[in-house]
């Protein structure tokens, strides 16, 4: 009997200890989960599916990527869209080209037809009277300089400058 009573006490004590350990383990797990969640949230910040591309305003001077201190200026269209070469018109405030200037520029269809025999990057429609390499370039020997007749001062046939190329780089 005494041995059985002792055994029961021992068992109850052990069960109580196990129960306390379980409670600590559960509490520790919850705490660790919270800590890891916080760390992960800072390390791998997500974004809303509907996140605005315009950012948000705050009063701080510090910006962290998207949560910027100021609303970014949106992409601004040009004051005037590009025009086809043959139909280019000067915007208000710019001297309108004389009638001959448009004629000096070939139609767009001529542009894409290729230009065999080009040299120095000037396309076939470049004015024949354009003068190249007039003065020396200011510095680096690899550079080259050309002068073209000004639209204000020359005959229409001399006025168009060869196009500058915009392409991938």
């Amino acid at each position: 009997m005494r041995l059985g009573h002792h055994s029961t006490h021992t068992r109850d004590a052990a069960l109580g200890q196990l129960s306390r350990m379980n409670r600590w383990l559960v509490a520790g797990s919850v705490l660790l989960t919270a800590v890891f969640t916080d760390v992960a949230a800072h390390a791998f910040p997500g974004k809303s599916a509907h996140a605005s591309a315009r950012g948000r305003s705050t009063s701080s001077s510090t910006s962290q990527g998207g949560s910027s201190s100021t609303t970014p200026t949106p992409l601004k269209p040009p004051s005037q869209p590009p025009s086809g070469e043959a139909s280019s018109e000067a915007p208000p405030g710019v001297a309108a080209p004389r009638s001959g200037e448009s004629q000096a520029s070939p139609a767009p269809s001529q542009e894409s037809s290729g230009s065999s025999g080009e040299s120095s990057g000037a396309p076939a429609e470049a004015p024949a009277q354009e003068s190249h390499a007039a003065p020396e370039a200011p510095s680096a020997s690899e550079s080259h300089q050309s002068h073209e007749s000004s639209p204000q001062a020359a005959e229409p046939a001399q006025e168009a400058s060869p196009p500058v190329v915009s392409g991938g780089s």
């Binding site: 910040p45 990527g65 970014p72 269209p77 040009p78 037809s113 050309s146 400058s161 190329v165 392409g167």
Partner: protein
């Protein structure tokens, strides 16, 4: 003397190399060409010192090397970073300056002229390599860049590498054109690697620009080139047909989709956009390459004149871009 052949009535065009690419300066007053060029060179040199990913002494190299620690930066790099983060915000992360590590992982870890070239065609890109993709994503994230304007301090998360290739050239063109116009008191156009900016009064007939796949292309760009005229602002072109290289037996190009960490799978081979300045135009053209067909609605909604050239050569003109 050189001045004896300079005529104020004539415009002038000068070209040279800087920032690892070609630079073209055109001014409406030939007599101002010298001072205008000096002004542009000064701007480009400052940007190169601050923003180069390949110059050992650049501020950007130092910033990348100190990732994980706050780093003070100069005004040029600070402004360049602000522009790059603005680009990321405006495109919801499509144009992300923290793709530097992704570029390194696909082999773009030195000046691209030193890389093994890949054919200049828009061939299908390789399937993403899982390891590279995961590693790139782990290290990317423009939202993690901390920038304090007041103390001029920037903190990158450890492992992040910033690359300003998507915005710096166009920004350099804007700054160069403005500097040239101020110095020469005339109209100016500056093209840096095919990104075109203008400033000051334009010529009466405007600035003629040939848009094509490759800024080095003197011809008709396989019949896909088009000449347009602008009077102000900027025009930028992004293309997947140039700056291509081989790495580990695979072809890559330089426009990175931050979501995969790999070269964008391009629906468009080339996109040209006109904006109020060249930096904006380049942000839009780069994002359009990454967005694919969704770019049509996006550009239209923003009212940005654009020309998108599909893989098969079919062109789409938006928001007032002239028909060929």
């Amino acid at each position: 003397m050189g001045s004896s052949v300079i005529d104020r009535s004539r415009s002038a065009t000068i070209s040279w190399r800087a920032l690892g690419t070609s630079v073209v300066l055109r001014v409406t007053d030939g007599s101002a060409a010298g001072v205008a060029r000096t002004a542009v060179e000064r701007e480009l040199a400052a940007i190169d010192r601050a923003c180069s990913r390949f110059r050992p002494d650049s501020e950007l190299m130092r910033l990348n090397a100190r990732a994980g620690r706050p780093t003070r930066v100069g005004p040029v790099l600070l402004e360049a970073l602000e522009l790059a983060l603005r680009a990321a915000r405006l495109t919801d992360g499509d144009v992300d300056p923290t793709v530097g590590r992704a570029l390194e992982l696909i082999g773009y870890d030195r000046d691209w002229h030193q890389l093994e070239p890949a054919p200049p065609i828009a061939s299908p890109l390789p399937a993403p390599r899982t390891a590279a993709r995961i590693e790139a994503r782990m290290h990317e994230g423009w939202r993690t860049v901390r920038l304090d304007r007041e103390t001029a301090t920037v903190t990158l998360r450890r492992g992040v590498r910033v690359d300003l290739g998507a915005t710096a050239k166009a920004w350099a063109a804007d700054r160069g054109a403005a500097a040239a116009a101020r110095a020469g008191d005339c109209g100016s156009l500056v093209a840096v690697g095919g990104d075109v900016a203008t400033a000051g009064p334009p010529p009466a007939a405007g600035w003629p620009i040939r848009v094509t796949d490759d800024h080095r292309d003197d011809g008709d760009g396989d019949g896909l080139a088009q000449v347009v005229v602008i009077f102000s602002g900027g025009l930028a072109t992004s293309s997947t047909t140039v700056r291509r290289w081989k790495h580990a037996g695979r072809a890559h190009h330089h426009i990175i989709d931050p979501r995969s960490g790999l070269s964008a799978r391009a629906e468009w081979r080339t996109v040209s956009v006109a904006c109020a300045d060249c930096a904006d135009a380049n942000i839009a053209s780069t994002a359009a390459i990454i967005r694919g067909r969704a770019a049509i609605g996006w550009l239209t909604e923003l009212g940005l004149p654009a020309r998108l050239v599909a893989e098969n050569g079919h062109t789409t003109e938006l928001a007032g871009w002239p028909e060929p």
